[in-house]
């Protein structure tokens, strides 16, 4: 909200500097958003307070906070003769209130200097006295208004209705807008003359020749205004107000204020005209208890301040005793919902900078951190200790037609309209970046979600992706296998490999726990957590184990894990069997394993058993 300091001083007296005024506004909820220029404040407006979209609303809260006198403009033309020259027919459920007045024999000319100055400070153009006055009152009260030249009407009626298919309107700026069916319009002789709560039409607009006008102010269903203005892509001062919860009572105040100014600065005679009302009045009776105020604020003394603060904020205090105050909320406070909103107002006007600080005294509750989060921390620690750098990549990519892929149906960015099925799909951006900057040896990882559709269900699954690219090694896939081994063995998980459509599956028994291909591996973290054993291997009683290495050739796709698991079952004297290394040669792998036993005299016998049985079972050849 733009607040010219000159304008708020029309309703109150302050000797504070613009900087000090901005400081107070900031503390009560209207934060200074931009540097102060020429005594005009640009304050951040949050969505709740529709009354802060008016100069009066801002000035009122500032005065309450500073505890200074605040006076609203005096309204004069409250009691006018009613003529009903233009009939109003409402055929839409989007109208809460609609009020019109007719002013005859006006003189369209330049508006007075004080209006021009304020509008220019606010940032609105100066056009003529009638248009300027409707804009001035809109900014002053926060209620959009609209004036039309009645002599341009073909009939003497205005119908408020939802637009039909194919209708269009030429708006005030001269552009023709095609209306979306169901948009609220004001129409005259069956043609739209105004998009309700959004923008006026050119045909009945006020020009220098205009002498007779109809002035209208309406309160409409804010949600439908917001939807329609988004669909039509129209943003302006009128829309930004009508789409909020404005009080319908503003309609009366604004139309009277505008009439007063027109009569003063354009002359003429004003008459009351047809109107329409269909709403529940906003003021609510609410009670603030001493107990609730103390429960939220932590202090009892606030209650003593409450009555005065309510008074300053235009609440009407209905009754008060030791323990509670009952108030009628001001008509313009459409944001007040619950008792705590009254608590907010008391704290806010008393001053947020005066809130005391007190540590939580309660005993800390039990730890409910999910295991998977603790595990994830362990995994990232392990990976960085193995020399891998972590990346986080944005999981969006362009939809490729894959029916498993989760598609975002309203993305504004067509390059990012669906989600990754594998970490690799987006982690490869890091790979490409490294190549671009000439970093040719690296190993990276990412922990994050992948997303897919399983029948109608949407699944998100936590994965770990690792990608290596070493310059001085024969084969990066062997490096990946070393990492797989390092990761899984540190969680004490035995695994095997199996050919699958994703590349090579990493399995524990029948459970797939990940996959790898070339220089990339991906793990299903939830499954790994489930299988992992967090024991630290400690040797408490040292056994002098004898060991021997065995080397065999196996087919490229055969699984080492499976072979090793089988070997372990062959002789109870085998203490353990470790995978040592492997070399690839076309379709063959040369694998070396090492077995251990506490009985050196049995080494030869065990070796023979291993060689004989394993070659028979898996068709591998030993050296």
């Amino acid at each position: 909200m733009i607040v010219p300091i000159k304008w708020i001083k029309d309703y109150l007296t302050t000797h504070k500097s613009p900087k000090e005024i901005a400081k107070s506004f900031t503390e009560i909820g209207l934060m200074l958003d931009r540097p102060i220029s020429g005594d005009v404040l640009d304050l951040e407006h949050r969505m709740d307070r529709a009354d802060w979209l008016s100069i009066l609303g801002c000035a009122r809260d500032f005065a309450a906070f500073e505890d200074i006198k605040f006076s609203e403009p005096e309204l004069k033309s409250t009691d006018l003769e009613k003529k009903n020259e233009v009939e109003i027919h409402v055929k839409s459920d989007k109208v809460n209130k609609f009020r019109t007045r007719i002013i005859k024999n006006i003189q369209v000319k330049e508006s007075p200097k004080f209006i021009q100055e304020r509008l220019l400070d606010y940032g609105l153009p100066v056009i003529n006295n009638i248009v300027d006055i409707t804009n001035f009152v809109m900014v002053e009260y926060g209620q959009p208004l609209h004036a039309q030249d009645i002599d341009k009407f073909e009939t003497k009626e205005i119908v408020l209705r939802d637009s039909d298919t194919g209708e269009s309107i030429q708006t005030l700026d001269g552009t023709t807008t095609k209306l979306i069916e169901g948009t609220l319009v004001l129409s005259e002789s069956k043609k739209p003359i105004c998009i309700g709560g959004i923008v006026g039409g050119l045909r009945t607009g006020v020009t220098e020749e205009t002498t007779n006008i109809i002035l209208d102010a309406g309160n409409y269903n804010q949600a439908s205004i917001r939807k329609a203005s988004r669909a039509l892509n129209i943003r302006n001062e009128t829309v930004s107000r009508s789409e909020k919860f404005l009080s319908p009572e503003l309609v009366d105040l604004a139309i009277i204020r505008a009439t007063d100014l027109i009569l003063e600065f354009a002359g003429g005679e004003a008459f009351e005209n047809d109107d329409y009302e269909n709403y529940q009045p906003t003021p609510k009776k609410m009670t603030l208890t001493r107990e609730r105020l103390a429960k939220i604020s932590g202090e009892d003394y606030y209650f003593e301040k409450a009555e005065n603060i309510f008074d300053r904020l235009n609440y009407e205090v209905i009754s008060k005793d030791e323990n509670k105050i009952t108030v009628k909320t001001p008509y313009f406070r459409t944001d007040i919902e619950v008792e705590d909103d009254l608590v907010s107002d008391v704290l806010r006007i008393y001053g947020y900078s005066k809130i005391n600080s007190q540590p939580i005294n309660n005993f800390p509750p039990k730890d409910i951190t999910p295991k998977i989060l603790k595990f994830q921390e362990k995994v990232t620690e392990l990976l960085t200790s193995l020399g891998l750098d972590e990346h986080i990549t944005d999981p969006f990519l362009r939809f490729d037609g894959n029916s498993n892929r989760v598609l975002l149906f309203n993305s504004v960015n067509s390059d990012k309209d669906s989600l990754r099925l594998s970490i690799k799909e987006t982690l490869k951006n890091a790979f490409e970046y490294y190549q671009k900057i000439g970093k040719d040896s690296f190993s990276i990882f990412e922990v994050g979600n992948v997303y897919y559709k399983k029948e109608e269900e949407l699944i998100e699954e936590r994965r770990l992706g690792i990608l290596v690219n070493y310059k001085d090694v024969d084969e990066n896939s062997l490096e990946i296998r070393k990492l797989i081994n390092a990761i899984l063995s540190s969680f004490d998980i035995n695994y095997s490999f199996e050919q699958s459509k994703l590349g090579i599956s990493i399995k524990q028994g029948n459970v797939e726990i990940g996959f790898f291909e070339a220089n990339y591996a991906e793990f299903y973290l939830d499954k790994i957590l489930h299988l992992s054993k967090f024991k630290t291997s400690v040797v408490s009683e040292f056994e002098n184990l004898s060991k021997e290495d065995l080397t065999f050739t196996a087919h490229i796709d055969a699984s080492n894990g499976e072979v090793i698991e089988y070997m372990k079952t062959l002789n109870p004297l085998i203490k353990k069997i470790n995978f040592i290394n492997e070399y690839h040669n076309e379709n063959q792998r040369k694998v070396t394993i090492r077995f251990y036993t506490a009985y050196p005299e049995e080494l030869k016998k065990i070796r023979e058993e291993l060689i004989n049985n394993t070659s028979k079972k898996f068709g591998v050849t030993f050296y």
Binding site: Q222, E299, E337, P370, T393, V412, N413, N449
Partner: protein, 326 residues
């Protein structure tokens, strides 16, 4: 040749060889298991007479030790610095965490100390948890604050970590004290400061007798932890639909000390987070009795903070793989 002469001859040969041969060759010539000069000498010990054993056994061992030390000393004497004696490439450098993970870890450490658990929730969310339970009815103007990415009607990618808050309030019984780091998603055209994917950090406390004073205390300590004990904090009223009273927290600009400069966009202060006492309706909708329990919540964007700390000028770089460690 008797043992004594043999020893003398070996010592003479060695003093010549030591000037000409390299370490490996010396080792092979004198200590090779099959035919090393010293090895052969040692092999003769068992066949000596008991008297000779006493004299020469000891002497041979001494000579063997001396030569070995001399051979081993070759590396050190021939190089100029210790660094050259090891190949740096043999040692793997430790990897690095992503700057966002590192910051989250640092913040978690603070809150764990104060008895907070870490919690999480789904990224694919329903409108119920992402909006409704946060006191955001359909068509509420505040839903405009965040343009959402929808998968199907009613199902979207969470637009804030507040959805984890409604999850924890719904799933757990008070007392609750948790922090919730997480990724959030928006329907934005990417720029240097806006992205469709970024991180937020949320915290929530629900218990008996929790007041706004506890919120002020917790945030004050947290800001001191993050920005140093000298930091100047400003609390102001700020509206969020899911809290009442709401509270905005800023820190005084570290560059201009509140005077207003480019860094703080001439505001004098920099906004860090939004917070407040959890809205009566939110507690109620999440199944917690708001007359018995009260609580506070806070939430902050992490990306801007991380970018400042690591001097990263564009959010695209942070999440586009465009970071590298040297």
């Amino acid at each position: 040749m008797n043992i004594e002469n043999q020893i003398e001859q070996i010592l003479n040969t060695f003093s010549e060889d030591f000037k000409t041969l390299d370490k490996d060759s010396l080792y092979l010539k004198y200590f090779s298991k099959t035919n090393g000069l010293i090895t052969n000498l040692i092999k003769q010990i068992p066949s000596l007479s008991p008297d000779e054993k006493k004299i020469y056994g000891q002497k041979i061992n001494q000579v063997s030790k001396d030569l070995e030390i001399k051979i081993n000393s070759l590396n050190i004497t021939k190089t100029t610095s210790l660094d050259e004696t090891i190949k740096i490439t043999d040692i793997k450098n430790a990897g690095h965490l992503h700057p966002v993970t590192e910051t989250i870890k640092e913040m978690n450490n603070f809150f764990r100390y104060y008895g907070f658990s870490v919690y999480e929730g789904p990224e694919i969310e329903t409108e119920e948890y992402n909006f409704r339970k946060l006191n955001l009815p359909e068509n509420h103007p505040a839903t405009d604050l965040q343009d959402s990415l929808y998968i199907k009607p009613g199902v979207l990618l969470r637009t804030h970590t507040s959805s984890i808050e409604t999850r924890v309030l719904t799933n757990e019984n008070p007392p609750i004290r948790v922090v919730m780091p997480g990724t959030v998603f928006r329907n934005e055209t990417p720029s240097a400061t806006n992205a469709s994917f970024f991180h937020q950090y949320q915290g929530v406390v629900v218990d008996k007798n929790i007041t706004i004073k506890n919120l002020v205390s917790t945030l004050t300590e947290f800001h001191k932890y993050l920005f140093g004990p000298e930091v100047v904090i400003r609390f102001r009223y700020k509206y969020y639909p899911e809290v009442s009273p709401g509270l905005g927290t800023d820190i005084q600009c570290l560059f201009c000390k509140g005077e207003g400069c480019k860094v703080c966009k001439y505001r004098g202060y920099i906004e860090v987070l939004g917070s407040g006492m959890i809205h009566y309706n939110t507690l109620k909708m999440c199944g917690i009795d708001p007359d018995e329990y009260s609580g506070f919540a806070f939430g902050m964007g992490l990306s801007r903070l991380v970018m400042q700390r690591h001097k990263i000028d564009s959010i695209k770089k942070l999440y586009g793989g465009e970071i590298s460690h040297e």
